[in-house]
Amino acid sequence: MTRLRNWLGNPWGKPRFLVLFTALYLVWSIVPILIAIRFSFNEGRSRSTAQGWSLRWYTGDPDSSVFHDATLHSALAQSLRLAAFAVLVTVPLGVALAIGLTRWRGRGASTARGISFATLVTPEIVMGTALLLVFVELLTFIPLGTPAQAIGHITFSLIFVVIIVRGRLLAIGPEYEEAARDLGASRMQAIRLALLPMLVPAIVASGIIVFAISMDDFVISAFLSSGTSTDTVPVRIYSQGRTAPTPALNALATVTLVVTIVIALVGFLLWRGVRAARGQTGSTVGEFAALDAEAVR
């Protein structure tokens, strides 16, 4: 026990217990996913034992493979469609909101900040119920399905853009805008020419985060879906997870995972590129992790 304490407490000694613990955690966190991916390549119909290797559940099976079963591949299309809408609308809306909220000092500013941050601590089931009821009872001209789902995704991801961009804005400070204004730029020009270029890394990062949380979302997509045709991948996994007769669902999850990671990776490389072009250095992954942590905080 004393030795364990020493390992835990000594910033200079060898933390053998912690090494083991962290390694076990990583194995526990990643191996189940790898096993689920493994079963998607099964030749047989089992989702719980290994049965050879094939692409049957991706393309081969004429009825229930991801490629041939419309309910499966349309779910992926819907997930990507919603994520694209979310990124395209949320990022500009959020950047403007972040700049406005950070610099605005007048009456109403703190209320506006309070409302924005309240979305962060609202559980999804509460927001899902609220949006479902507002679209069914009041704003009936917005139909359930893609429009309602897109609005939902934009609403809950807005705050993440605000947090990331605001963090960067507070770090930059107002001096650059002031200098631009002193040199004769209008307010809009000062933002466009001095501020926005410095915000590019934060904007790219917030785009990646919005994409990831939109792809991950389940509750809002499920509550605002209008039927099978607007189900996203998580909704499909929820409704078939316990009853699915084949590993096709695993195949769908695997394809989605690969697509998400490839797009996020492209975004990450872009982020690293623009960041390097702005002359910022240091551990890129580390800084991105801190960013991610800030976003979930």
Partner: protein, 308 residues
């Protein structure tokens, strides 16, 4: 809110300009965040159409009907009633899952922040990875593993811990709590990591120089300094857990593990008695607001104790 920032506002006026920039986002949030909350209240205090069983919201607060709330409060506060059982169960599941998450998250975050060294980048990739794997896929992985003929049973039988396959997916509290911990622990590790990474090492050196043992240094310096991060981590995972219904549905699917989220989902999307569902949402929100209030109070107190 630096001095120069305040100067920009004062010198150039232009508050209207900044408010205008924030306006589209604020209008959006009023339309799709604040207004929907009012609609929840109007539905919860509304009536149900006697023929079609559809809710008819009461838009005028002076004419609000409290029938749905009386039903919910009755189910909450008469002993042994349905909602009370579910609420207490939800509370304990969240409590246990949060405590386990903290026990896992703190050592991992501590190790990566302090001893990551040249492996830090790779370790961080491992910690970030779950953010890009959908929560539902991570639950699906456990559905595969916990089947009767799944690998968890195989391994436990091979080790001699079990004689026959154990049925994990049929109303087991342990499976649901495992799912919650597995699903939410990454969201706790990252903020803890970001915070522990920033702790000034010279403070620890000072503690050691003043004669503290390594464990004392940890207990008296690192741990108090990370209290705000621990509190934030708890809030980050406890709030969504209180609204979770998909984890019990996927890993148990039996009524004896239903959480408050399951009840809300059933009432709101089951079609009947939507006002009861709306009233449950209001009760949940009130409860979470009290919890958030306590969190803010505890954070302020912790920071004051640290003299920050």
């Amino acid at each position: 809110m630096s001095e120069s920032e305040r100067r920009v506002g004062a010198k150039r006026g232009g508050d209207g300009f900044w408010a205008g920039l924030a306006l589209p986002g604020v209008v959006w949030l009023c339309l799709f965040f604040l207004l929907p909350f009012y609609v929840i209240l109007c539905v919860a205090f509304g009536r149900v159409d006697p023929i079609f069983q559809t809710p008819s919201p009461e838009w005028n607060p002076l004419a609000w009907n409290t029938a749905a709330f009386e039903f919910v409060l009755d189910g909450l506060f008469s002993s042994g009633a349905a909602f009370q059982t579910v609420f207490v169960r939800t509370f304990f599941y969240v409590l246990i899952a949060t405590a386990l998450s903290l026990l896992i998250a703190y050592p991992v975050a501590y190790y990566v922040a302090r001893y990551g060294g040249r492996w830090k980048g790779l370790l961080l990739v491992g910690l970030i990875a779950p953010f890009f794997i959908s929560y539902l896929m991570r639950m699906l992985a456990w559905i595969n593993l916990l089947q009767d003929d799944g690998w968890v049973n195989e391994v436990l039988m091979w080790l001699g811990i079990l004689d026959a396959p154990h049925n994990w997916l049929d109303g087991r509290a342990s499976s649901v709590i495992l799912g919650l911990v597995y699903g939410y622990v990454p969201f706790m590790i990252l903020p803890l990591y970001a915070f522990l990474d920033r702790i000034d090492r010279s403070l620890l050196e000072a503690a050691r120089d003043l004669g503290a043992t390594p464990f004392q240094a940890f207990r008296m310096v690192t741990l108090p300094l990370s209290t705000p991060a621990i509190l934030a981590g708890i809030v980050i995972i406890a709030l969504p857990m209180f609204g979770d219904y998909y984890t019990p549905d996927l890993l148990s699917g039996a009524p004896q593990t239903n959480l408050i989220g399951n009840e809300i989902n059933l009432y709101i999307r089951g079609g009947q008695q939507i006002p009861v569902g709306a009233a449950l949402v209001v009760v949940l929100m009130v409860f979470l607001t009290v919890l958030m209030g306590y969190y803010l109070y505890a954070t302020v107190r912790a920071q004051r104790r640290l003299g920050a």
